[in-house]
């Protein structure tokens, strides 16, 4: 005969407390692992600098991509940062598979730990591992004559508002001449045009892209992340909407990843 030892159901606050406590515990372990391997931080720091050094220098000289008054490196850096974040995310996704094969993930999932806490702890490590990249990218950009948010006074002057507005509408690929002219036949720009661009924080002039790429760009959180970073690094400083979009994508990602964690260990 079994003896019931059921406890009264926990309050609604208990899952939130569990999530916070477990995320902290798992994050500590992730940081301890990171601390034990300094090479990881170093290699992550070097990688974006190589991108900026090779592609940044070459493309800024051949001027294949028009960036208006903005230095090409300033234009490129947010994309490099977003790309680095994506690479780190992919690497940590693979690492979860290794941990599953090693049995570590299984063992953690048999503890009273919400699945989302495991994902959030991985995110915190990812953030820490990625911060040297951001630092090195911004330093390199600054040393190369572009502006850095933390050293605005030391680097080149900020681009004009007109240049900033241009940046928001510049194509990633192709020539700007191919972009449809938004001005009406009389040559006057509609009064609402610039304001609308800034208000909506429209990412890129995707109308020049093929249709399928336009669709991908619209639903791809990285598009919004790049533009939020661009807003933070080179202005105009109105990144709230974009950051909110990136945050929503992160929450959806955590929920989605947490919901498949169970399947992963089966």
């Amino acid at each position: 005969m079994s003896v019931a030892v059921e406890r009264p159901r926990a309050s609604w606050a208990e899952p939130v407390r569990l999530l916070a406590v477990r995320t902290a515990a798992l994050s500590t372990v992730e940081l301890q692992k990171l601390r034990s391997d300094h090479t990881e931080l170093f290699t992550r720091m070097v990688q974006p600098v190589l991108w900026l050094l090779v592609f940044g220098q070459i493309f800024s000289r051949i001027r294949a991509i028009p960036t208006g008054d903005l230095p090409y490196l300033a234009y490129l850096t947010p994309g490099i940062l977003a790309q680095s974040a994506l690479f780190v995310a992919i690497f940590f996704g693979i690492q979860i598979i290794w941990e599953r094969d090693a049995g570590i993930l299984t063992k953690v999932m048999v503890t009273p730990t919400p699945r989302a806490a495991i994902i959030m702890a991985k995110r915190s490590r990812r953030a820490c591992a990625g911060s040297p990249r951001s630092w090195s990218s911004c330093r390199w950009r600054c040393c190369s004559g572009s502006r850095s948010p933390s050293t605005r006074s030391n680097c080149s002057p900020p681009p004009s508002p007109r240049a900033q507005r241009r940046l928001l509408r510049l194509p990633v690929h192709g020539d700007r001449r191919h972009r449809p002219d938004p001005r009406p036949a009389d040559g006057r720009r509609p009064a609402h045009d610039d304001a609308a661009v800034l208000r909506l924080q429209r990412p890129l002039p995707i109308e020049i892209m093929p249709t399928w790429l336009q669709v991908i760009s619209q639903v791809n959180p990285l598009t919004y992340l790049v533009n939020a970073l661009r807003g933070l690094l080179v202005g105009p400083r109105e990144p709230v909407g974009r950051l909110r979009c990136a945050r929503r994508a992160a929450v959806l990602g955590i929920i989605g990843a947490a919901s498949v964690m169970g399947k992963l260990v089966r």
């Binding site: 059921e6 049995g103 570590i104 009273p112 730990t113």
Partner: protein, 268 residues
Amino acid sequence: MTTLAVECTGLVHRFGETVAVDHLDLQIAAGEVFGLLGPNGAGKTTTIRVLNTLLPAQQGSVRIFGLDIRRRALDVRRHLGYVPQQLSIEAALTGRQNVTWFARLFDVPRAERAARVDDALDAMDLLSVADRRAGSYSGGMIRRLELAQALVNRPDLLVLDEPTVGLDPIARAGVWERVRQMQADHGMTVLLTTHYMEEADELCDTVALMHHGRLQAVGSPTELRAGIGPEATLEDVFRRYAGAGLEDHSAEGVRNVRRSRTTARKLG
């Protein structure tokens, strides 16, 4: 009145068309060492995974210390300690960090955490090497470290999935000596799977032989041996109940063999 640590009724778990666990009825009394034996693909690991909430109970009911695993999975996990078949420690962390990690995951109060971690390490004879990186431990030490992780929350039910696979006889004896000691000290229930019959014979109060997802025989090792003949060993019992139809081509079987070999290779 006997308190039941595990109570399974009509448990079924399928992987597609394959029935891994077929209407399993299982009862494990609190405080006993229960051995789940069977050939590869018998359904032992699937059963253990359902009991520790990694797999859902597709049919039937499972209660751990009276808690329904479907409705109270998180509470069930508070009662569990688990050592999987693979070597599952973080090699980059020290032994102490590995155990502290699990102490935090099991809500061991901060005030007594350090003492409990030291106790667990001491019980496994690892206190002197606690601040060394776990990657430098020998196979036997790693297994003992895993036991320390599983025991730091003083679980009511310790689940061991082939804990001595790949260990040399001395390391194996060391692991079992410590499990026995912890079981005697804290009166926990131990559920283990093993392929070593002499181990089950010596350590288990009750043994269940599983084959094709069903229990073929349950009893104390002495009872099961007596049922075969006066000179019978537990291996003879195993052959009698599981000897027929040992062919197993399921993916689960291949995966288990691969996992065992990987573990054995890592242990050297």
